[in-house]
């Protein structure tokens, strides 16, 4: 257990260092202008690490006060993570107003559905509440990102490498968090230190992905290739497409019916 604890401390220190490197890159590349909520999230993560270090030193790891402070700060961080993911969704979909209008509703329904699902399946003991909230939010974040990426893929929307890396990092971290939280719920006592270690490790992996993307980020690399057309042209094109698809469908139906008659 001691080994796991020292390994966890090492991973924790490494994570804080990586957070600081990422923070420096975000400042240097001026990414706080394009991704202000992600910037705020990383800043909050650094502050949480500092807060945890101070409270552990003051009251020790086993204190209820430390437990409460950690989970409250975690709640704030969860909220900021959610906001950062919404920011990415907005950056990817909002330039395409028609798709954004549909996309935000789909994302809202998918995310809300998963939150309800997580709440319905969670245990209702008071001490499980932070864990359940943590898991529910992680699952909702992962669902939102996957829905967003599937949406973007279906409509062939361009995604720049920074946003893609943010999506991959957030989604992997959230999914591993769900697995981790679920295992912790089952083996709550014997697994605690290992859970801390895995949690830190998965966050570290996401940070490494984001550092790579922030390092390679260039302000000039805009992935927005498609330009909006006028309302008249849009109406004409969409009507023409609808008519063509409708006629095609009718011909296939006729073909099917003539085949049935022959049989």
């Amino acid at each position: 257990m001691l080994e796991a604890l020292s390994l966890s401390n090492l991973a924790w220190a490494l994570t804080t260092l990586t957070e600081l490197i990422l923070f420096a890159y975000l400042l240097r590349r001026k990414l706080f202008r394009t991704h202000p909520l992600f910037f705020a999230y990383i800043l909050a993560a650094i502050l949480q690490s500092a807060l945890a270090a101070v409270t552990y030193a003051a009251w020790g790891r086993q204190s209820f006060r430390v437990w409460l402070i950690f989970w409250l700060s975690q709640l704030v961080l969860e909220g900021m993570r959610f906001a950062a993911v919404i920011e990415v969704a907005r950056r990817i979909l909002a330039p395409f107003s028609g798709i954004w209008a549909l996309g935000r509703r789909v994302l809202l329904v998918a995310t809300g559905g998963v939150l309800i699902y997580a709440a319905a399946l969670s245990k209702d003991y008071w001490y499980s509440l932070p864990l359940n909230v943590d898991r529910g939010v992680a699952l909702a974040v992962a669902t939102m990102i996957v829905t967003l990426l599937l949406f973007a893929r279906y409509y062939r929307l361009p995604i720049d490498s920074m946003d893609r890396s943010l999506c991959v990092g957030f989604c992997l971290y959230s999914c591993f968090f769900v697995i981790n939280d679920s295992l912790l719920e089952k083996w709550v006592n014997s697994y605690l230190n290992f859970w801390n270690f895995l949690g830190v490790l998965t966050f570290l992996a996401s940070l490494v992905i984001w550092v790579g993307a922030a390092r390679a980020y260039a302000m000039t690399t805009s992935a927005r290739e498609t330009v909006p057309v006028s309302k008249e042209l849009y109406g004409k094109l969409s009507s023409e497409l609808n008519v063509r698809l409708h006629v095609l469908n009718e011909h296939l139906n006729q073909l099917l019916q003539s085949g049935d008659q022959r049989r």
Binding site: L121, I145, A152, Y155, V178, S238, R244
Partner: protein, 122 residues
């Protein structure tokens, strides 16, 4: 392991798999308005529908049997069946092109446009 934990872990694994699939670059890409217009102005395969339907009609070749060309009848019918399958492939291509074009047009939408159903079919 309880069913609840299993469901959570399963969902997380499915999401990881979906993420891996979703981040792959798409195979085909139609990006410009010109390509959409080209897809719309290309020759329609479905305009050959009546000829294909005619060719698949058994009555169209029945006279061969009456005149004692049974083997020729079989050969012609199998040839026509093959042509009909090729025609279906062309229809599928056409459908995929139109679907791709509709995605591009959706991405170019200037904003939400309220339309009546009647406007659509004109």
């Amino acid at each position: 392991m309880s069913i609840t934990i299993f469901l959570f872990i399963l969902l997380a694994v499915i999401l990881i798999a979906a993420l891996a699939w979703a981040v792959r670059p798409p195979k085909h890409k139609l990006v410009s308005i010109d390509e959409v217009l080209a897809a719309l102005t290309e020759e329609h395969h479905y305009s050959r529908f009546s000829q294909i339907q005619q060719a698949l009609n058994p009555e169209d070749t029945e006279f061969l049997r009456d005149r004692g060309f049974g083997s020729l009848l079989g050969r012609i019918r199998s040839e026509r069946g093959r042509v009909a399958l090729l025609y279906l492939d062309c229809l599928q291509d056409e459908y995929e092109k139109l679907l791709e074009a509709s995605r591009v047009v959706a991405a170019m939408a200037p904003g939400l446009v309220a339309m009546d159903e009647g406007d659509d079919s004109s």
